[in-house]
Symmetry: C2
Subunit: 185 residues, 2 copies
Amino acid sequence: MNRLSLALVHYPVVDRDGNIYTTAITNMDVHDIARSAKTFGLDNYYLVTPITAQQELAKTIAGFWTDGTGKLKNFDRSSAMELVSVNNDLDSVVEQELLLTGAMPFIIATSAKPSLEKTATYEEAQKLIKSHKSTLLVFGTGHGLAKTVLDRADVVLTPIYGVDDYNHLSVRSAVAIILDRLRSR
Amino acid sequence: MNRLSLALVHYPVVDRDGNIYTTAITNMDVHDIARSAKTFGLDNYYLVTPITAQQELAKTIAGFWTDGTGKLKNFDRSSAMELVSVNNDLDSVVEQELLLTGAMPFIIATSAKPSLEKTATYEEAQKLIKSHKSTLLVFGTGHGLAKTVLDRADVVLTPIYGVDDYNHLSVRSAVAIILDRLRSR
């Protein structure tokens, strides 16, 4: 199977007013998304933050389950946490995928708002994943990815719509739904 | 549209060893699942716990957003939290649905393990929801619903499978995926 990985970006993202800021890593994002990533057979779960103290926090959370007493306590959690790595920025994530496959990863960004150009449906994204050695699904925290991240993506996935215009899902829920749509049996 | 509601059960559920116990309400379960329920047009999100202090906690969390300063701060969160109510047990949830519609709600339980009997696929569940005045989707916390809850359900939904046998999703992620499968446009 071709590689499919996920990056959760804490900077650069936008706040409620559209200003660029940095969000904090949350324990629940690390856990829930690692479990979803493992369930749907992803190869890596890259946490992206430029803040050193936050990087240390994320390593401590994941490390407890992969090295520490957590591994003995809960093997299932441990095998999910083994997908987690902590990274400064999207460039270093792209570089790691490039080193692993020899090709630039195909970048699929996600957004709760429809993109005016380069939109991909879920069916199109499934085909794109199959036709690239490595694909990176990029999710934003806060109120979503900064424009610079959307601009560098190859495509932007169609937003998740429920029954009407309300689509204020948590990033944890959005990741779960998108992985299910792209990768479920 | 016929009624579709969700109950998150904190008792009776099973622990890792299959013993009956009571889990604690978590802030993230209230928030994430309320947002998913609102996105997918559910009518109610019933939190079920027999512990008075836990009921008060849940009311405080939801109440902050529906009555307090949270409503002014974040209307989107508020409209999700308006779906939340706190209940002693599944009987009182069933009774409320009965009062609202004059008919017993159809009960669809969920489980990470396949059921030996009365399984419903997602397509079957969609049809069942359309053919009943009110349907209650029941999710367990901890390591899943107690047998007594599964036994009283009319059907048990097929588990979510990813790419192999690992399916240790958080209940927040499982709710998101199941609502998407049952209710997405």
